[in-house]
């Protein structure tokens, strides 16, 4: 069942077309990844789904309803730039934000207590946010996003600024939410998380969707055109290869994407001649590779500079 549906959505700010003719659907009970370089239009799209911005043209429906204050209540949204009132007590703040999502006071208090307890944060209730550490306030932010028990969760770059432990916790919570039948949409440009978590992806570039669908299908459509090579010895032979792109290169590892249908056995022969091969594996391209080959290296380089 389609729970979020975008149909030829466009949004411009002055002359700058932030999003043009974007269409995609998010299925209920799945984790949906929105990928793309910075400035590709992910945040604008997310804001439109949240009814913070209105599309210039096209339609957005949430659970069959056009995006509106009513659909906002179905969504828990955590923006990329997180924030809370610094001079407000944690408990009051969570109550306020949850009530704004339309929850009754008593139900809201119950939900807040439940989540504070689950995150081991009950003691912070009377504290002002300014007294909390960064990790603590991130947890409070997360509770503020989920306390009203929505069906849809939207996280804009949820892993940015998280330490590895909190990242792992967040990953577990997201997967846990899916097992409860909730729908999660998040944007990121960190591919390994997408590969580990997402059921479906949609790749954005320059305001347009350039690739979308079930993550496994997307990957298999690229075929097993990549070699994972583990070796010991001089790796300089890799520089002699032509018609390939090498990602993730280190002193004894390389991910080699073979372009133009070159014969992979030749690469193996060359490798054996120069180094001791520990592993030679033909695999589907990594998402990172798919991202690069779809968006184009130039874009990625620009992003890295920015």
């Amino acid at each position: 069942m389609e729970i979020i549906h975008l149909e030829e959505v466009s949004k411009a700010f002055g002359k700058n077309k932030a999003v043009s003719d974007v269409s995609f659907s998010v299925e209920k009970g799945r984790i949906f990844g929105l990928l793309g370089p910075n400035g590709a239009g992910k945040t604008t799209t997310i804001r439109m789904i949240n009814n913070i911005l209105a599309p210039d043209t096209g339609s957005i429906t949430i659970n069959g309803q056009t995006a509106s204050p009513a659909t906002q209540k179905m969504i828990g949204y955590m923006p990329e730039e997180r924030g809370l009132y610094k001079k407000m007590k944690v408990g009051e703040q969570l109550l306020y934000l949850t009530q704004l999502k339309g929850m009754e006071t008593s139900a809201a208090k119950k939900a807040i207590n439940f989540w504070l307890d689950r995150f081991g944060a009950t003691d912070w209730k009377k504290k002002e946010v300014s007294e909390l550490s960064k990790g603590m306030s991130q947890k409070i932010q997360f509770i503020a996003t989920i306390a009203h028990d929505p069906d849809i969760y939207i996280f804009d770059e949820p892993f940015s600024g998280l330490d590895p432990i909190n990242s792992e916790t967040l990953k577990e919570v997201i997967i846990d939410l899916r097992s409860q039948g909730k729908t999660i949409l998040f944007s990121t440009h960190r591919m390994e998380q997408v590969e580990q978590m997402c059921d479906d992806i949609c790749l954005f570039n320059k305001g347009k969707t350039v690739l979308q669908g079930d993550l496994r299908e997307v990957k298999s459509s690229f075929g097993k055109n990549t070699i994972n090579l583990e070796f010991e010895g001089d790796g300089s032979f890799l520089d002699k290869l032509e018609g390939v792109r090498i990602n993730n290169r280190s002193t004894n590892f390389a991910e080699i994407r073979v372009l133009n249908g070159q014969n992979m056995q030749e690469i193996l022969h060359l490798a054996i001649d120069h180094a001791e091969i520990h592993k030679f594996e033909r695999v589907q391209p990594s998402l990172n590779e798919i991202f690069i080959s779809t968006v184009g290296e130039d874009n990625l380089k620009n992003e890295e500079v920015a």
């Binding site: 913070i52 204050p69 924030g83 704004l100």
Partner: protein, 431 residues
């Protein structure tokens, strides 16, 4: 608009601010500071300035100096026996502030006396010397002309008038001066309230932007609901403060006269009858002048609320357009100009509440909140003028709010470069 959400925003805005130390302190301390300020003003105007300016008198008539010394022994010193050069040296050295030579020609007024002074003291110094000298000259001349005591009394009487105001209920003591000063103070309060609480609102909007919480809020509430809630919350906050001040004022003004009478009566019974007359110069019933018709406060609240709403929208829009308080300055000018004009005009309104300029200022919607309340307190403003003023203000409020809401809507999600006026115009068209 979802008024449930507006109310939630209003409640948060109000409750978090009403509990702050700065609000509690300003509510308590402002009246005290105000009373202290009034006391200082009264003290300064009663006492002859903080320094006594001295004048050396070279008296060639041998009668005038004694009279001057009687008037103000601290000011006048006899320099009749000193040579002029040494008196001049004293003035230059600052030992005395000036000298004056009095001659027979001055008494006959064939020649004006001249005060030569070192430049310090200003107009009030010259005026007080002038009035002293005038008085002794006149008295001496009258004495020499052998006029009757009756004529001398005529000259010594200071003629004042009492004023009474005729109303439907009969003649009433007219407190025109109290009314004018009171009106000015009410206008001042609106000025401070609109400006001060407008700035509070602006900072509150900036705070939500810099905290980045605004995007979370925007995913639950429409920008116009958020803005309305914040604006009303701060308006209620201001009304709370003014309400406390006004209720205490009414209480104090009602209690002042009876309490003072009680004290005076208690003292009278303890002191001998001959001293009673001396203390009778203080009449406790004069304090009743401070009791004002409470309907003026009703007008005060109406004009404050509409005045605040007119300006608050702009303050909110400015807050939304910038990222930090430092960036607000260029946008503050257009807000500050009308509000400061209203403040300065208020002095003129106080002096002459029925002049054309006062009438115009009390109708023009940007100055009306301040100037109309001063007029209402100081004079009888035709009801038609009050209604026109309120209507014009309401129309202005709606128009400005409409513009402000558009800027606010775009601005709260914009970060980075401070927008120009041209960009703001673009935001308005976008909205």
């Amino acid at each position: 608009m979802d008024f449930g959400k507006v109310f939630l925003v209003l409640k948060r805005e109000y409750l978090t601010r009403v509990r702050t130390k700065s609000f509690i302190l300003s509510t308590l301390l402002t009246p005290l500071a105000f009373i202290a300020m009034m006391a200082i003003v009264i003290y300064v105007s009663i006492s002859d300035g903080e320094v006594t300016r001295t004048v050396a008198v070279i008296d060639q008539t041998e009668v005038l100096y004694n009279n001057l010394e009687e008037l103000d022994p601290a000011r006048y010193s006899d320099a009749s026996s000193l040579p002029l050069d040494s008196v001049r040296a004293q003035v230059l050295a600052g030992d005395v502030d000036g000298y004056i030579i009095l001659t027979e020609d001055n008494i006959s007024y064939t020649e004006k006396p001249t005060l030569v002074y070192g430049g310090a003291g200003g107009i009030s110094f010259i005026e007080s010397v002038e009035s002293d000298v005038r008085r002794v000259l006149r008295e001496e001349r009258l004495a020499r002309s052998n006029v009757s005591t009756e004529v001398r009394e005529i000259f010594e009487t200071r003629y004042n008038i009492d004023s009474l105001k005729l109303t439907e209920e009969g003649e009433e003591e007219d407190n025109a001066i109290v009314g004018a000063v009171f009106g000015f103070i009410l206008g001042l309060l609106i000025f401070i309230g609109v400006f001060g609480y407008g700035a509070v609102l602006m900072r509150s909007v900036i705070e939500e932007k810099t905290n980045r919480i605004v995007e979370v809020i925007a995913s639950s509430v429409k920008p116009i609901e958020l803005m309305t809630g914040k604006l009303l919350g701060i308006c209620v906050l201001a009304l709370t403060q003014f309400g406390i001040w006004i209720v205490s004022y009414i209480g104090l003004s009602l209690a002042a006269a009876p309490v003072a009478t009680m004290f005076v009566d208690a003292q009278m019974s303890n002191i001998p009858p001959e001293a009673v007359e001396a203390s009778a110069s203080f009449d406790p019933s004069k304090l009743e002048a401070f009791i004002v018709d409470p309907t003026i406060f009703l007008f005060f609240f109406v004009f404050f609320i509409i005045g605040f709403l007119i300006y608050a929208g702009i303050f909110a829009a400015i807050g939304a357009a910038v990222d930090s308080e430092q960036d607000t300055q260029q946008f503050m000018m257009p807000v500050m100009i009308p509000i400061f004009i209203a403040y300065f005009l208020n002095l003129r309104v106080m002096e002459n509440p029925d002049s054309t300029i006062a009438v115009v200022a009390s109708m023009f919607p940007l100055t009306a909140p301040i100037n109309m309340i001063s007029r209402i307190a100081a004079t009888d403003v035709p009801i038609l003028q009050i209604i026109t003023s309120l209507l014009l203000m309401s129309v202005t409020f709606v128009g400005l709010m409409w513009l402000a809401a558009k800027i606010y809507r775009v601005g709260i999600l914009m970060y980075g470069k401070k927008p120009s006026y041209k960009e703001l115009a673009k935001w308005i068209r976008q909205g």
